[in-house]
């Protein structure tokens, strides 16, 4: 029918529909231009560097670049018996350059990650190769040390041929690829990371539970008290929230120390003897107590803002219809607070899972989390690719939690203070 009716025109003679579309487009561009500076800034300084972390974590070009001729020659080698003379010659030529440039130490470190015992034989080779005669390099190299005649070591070199590796990710869950390319667990005594992942999850989970159990009653009290009292009590929640994290951690260090006030109190009420004051810091207890107190406001605020919107007449209605106060609470009030519970738990869990400062200060050896391990590799061992790999595994976990949460409660249901 529209083809027959005359199109509505603006005063300029352009069809109204077109003119509106144009205006709409102009508005779109205007809005986008306002967002663009921040978006661009974050993409460059934040989002791309996270991508860069991924590239770093799988990058393994270093060895490949150091031994180009060797890897070229190795393409023909099936890896069963000792490689042929060409491989030995290529390796000798590559290694001579590294010795001349004095970078062979880096190669030794890298290959030693792959198989123990490389460091000493590479050093010995660096000394001996100066006197090498031309030709028959296979024999000459094998004479330097008997390990050079061991095919395992040549296989180890070949394993480093690809430009990319997922070895760091395997290392993050205490696994590695053995000589035959099978993925196996490291020996029991060296399985540190898996334990850390589980401990991180455990601490984050229990801190969330403790926060929820403590926050629910006080959020309820804050939401039901008359304004003039609740405002005063709200300060108790907001003041810790605005106070420096380090100040709060410091105060827990004072409270929990062996001669500290909490222990004094325990002795005073006769819970423990003066001589056997328990160690409450530098272990899991310290991490639990301090993290729960620090993260508690993040649970109280979303709960409070949801509870504030629930009309008290609903509970009264429940009771007047014959429910006991407990039934009325459980059937009417509690279900209405679920968006707040979801938001609070999500917030606290995600903050707890990436916590670094507090566990490092009060956690000791048994209370540290995966983020402490990441920081350790960033600052002490300088194994940045491993730190990146673990960071990304943590990030993946966090994103998975968001996804599950979105499926269960819906991200739009989040309400923040």
């Amino acid at each position: 029918m529209s083809s027959e009716t005359q199109k509505i025109l603006t005063t300029d003679g352009i069809p109204l529909e077109e003119s509106l579309k144009k205006a709409e487009k102009k508005n779109k561009i205007k809005a986008f231009l306002l967002v663009a500076p921040l978006l661009l800034y974050l993409l460059i300084t934040y989002i791309f560097p996270i991508g860069d972390m991924f590239l770093r974590s799988i990058d393994d070009k270093m060895v490949t670049k150091m031994l180009p001729k060797t890897f070229k020659a190795m393409e023909q080698w099936d890896g069963k018996d000792l490689p042929s003379e060409e491989v030995f010659e290529a390796f000798y030529l590559d290694y001579r350059i590294l010795v001349k440039e004095k970078t062979f130490g880096k190669l030794a470190t890298q290959l030693n990650y792959e198989k123990n015992g490389f460091k000493s034989i590479l050093k010995k080779l660096a000394r001996k190769q100066k006197k090498f005669e031309e030709g028959n390099y296979k024999e000459q190299i094998m004479k330097v040390h008997k390990r050079w005649a061991n095919v395992e070591y040549w296989r180890a070199i070949k394993r480093r041929a690809p430009n990319y590796t997922y070895a760091k990710y395997l290392k993050g869950v205490d696994m590695y690829e053995d000589e035959n390319g099978k993925i196996v667990q490291v020996e029991e005594s060296r399985r540190v990371h898996k334990k850390l992942w589980f401990r991180t999850l455990e601490i984050a989970f229990f801190v969330t539970v403790f926060c929820f159990l403590m926050a629910y009653p006080i959020a309820h009290l804050l939401a039901t008290l008359p304004m003039k009292y609740s405002n005063l009590l709200m300060i108790c929640v907001l003041l810790p929230f605005w106070t420096s994290l380090l100040v709060r951690t410091a105060s827990w260090m004072i409270l929990l120390q062996q001669q500290g006030i909490v222990n004094d109190f325990f002795v005073w009420i006769g819970l423990v003897a003066d001589e056997s004051r328990p160690e409450m810091m530098y272990n899991k207890t310290g991490t639990y107590v301090a993290m729960t107190q620090i993260l508690l406001p993040f649970m109280v605020l979303p709960l409070y803002s949801v509870m504030k919107t629930i009309s008290p007449s609903l509970m009264r209605a429940g009771k007047s219809l014959g429910g006991t106060p407990f039934v009325a609470f459980w059937k009417v009030y509690f279900p209405l607070t679920i968006p707040g519970i979801g938001a609070g738990c999500l917030l606290v869990f995600i903050l707890a899972i990436g916590y670094y400062i507090t566990p490092a200060l009060v956690g000791g050896a048994s209370g540290t989390l995966i983020s402490n391990q990441i920081a350790y590799h960033m600052k002490s061992t300088l194994d940045w690719s491993f730190a990146s790999a673990m960071g990304l595994m943590l990030l993946l976990g966090v994103l998975a939690i968001y996804w599950v949460y979105n499926k269960l409660v819906g991200i739009d249901n989040i309400k923040l203070g």
Binding site: K28, P37, M53, L361
Partner: protein
Amino acid sequence: MALPKYTETHYRIWHYFYLLICTCVFIFLIAPLFVIFPLSFNAEEFLVFSDGMKRLDPDAFSLRWYHDMIYGTKNPWGLAAKNSFIIAIFATLGSVLLGTVAALGLSSRHMPYKALIMAILISPMIVPLIISGVAIFFFIAKVGLAGTHLGIILSHIILGTPFVVITVTATLSGFDHSVTRAASSLGSDPVNTFMKITLPLILPGVISGGLFAFVTSFDEVVVVLFLAGLENTTIPIQMWTGLREQLSPTILAVATCLIVLSVLILVTAELLRRRSERLRGINR
């Protein structure tokens, strides 16, 4: 919360039990902050209440740790405070500027891909700090700004903007757009409209977002630990080193000052929130 007279006994008991639990939780929340306060006036070097303090003996209290904080010879607190304030102020300005402009665009109903862009803009708040720290460190080191004030300011802008974006979009959600249309129909250009109409109305949101950004930067340790050299040490870094090595009472003096600062910020934030609610016509 007074109970009606007809309440049965076991509900009455339950009610008092509930109040007791609440009291305990409130003490758990706030008491740790009050421990620091008296101990920072301790005349002795130990971090426990001395017998003199328990007797309220005036000689057991002193200001020596405050004196040490300000005039102590080996103390880096002066430099740290200066750095912290410079970094936090510039980071806040950057966050507020970028964040407010972006929030204006985001609140427009014409904004395409709103959900995706919002997710990107607030991602620094959602991603665990340690991961942000690693990523930001790689970027800042790559552009050669590690160990400079500028590098730390740039990284704190990243961490601060989500707060500004969130508070300002929240303020704008109750914003009556007809007032800006009225202004333009009366011949005002967009910049003038923004400065004279929009900004004064959203100012409480902008300032409280700025406060969040300020506190985030002022209290930030993880990224600075990766980035800072000796000359850009900040208060949190000094506290971190102090707490790791040896808990000295001087740290408590600094902590007390920080608590006072946070009380000031809390009061400002509360006043702003009330003002903003009044302006938006939300009455409780």
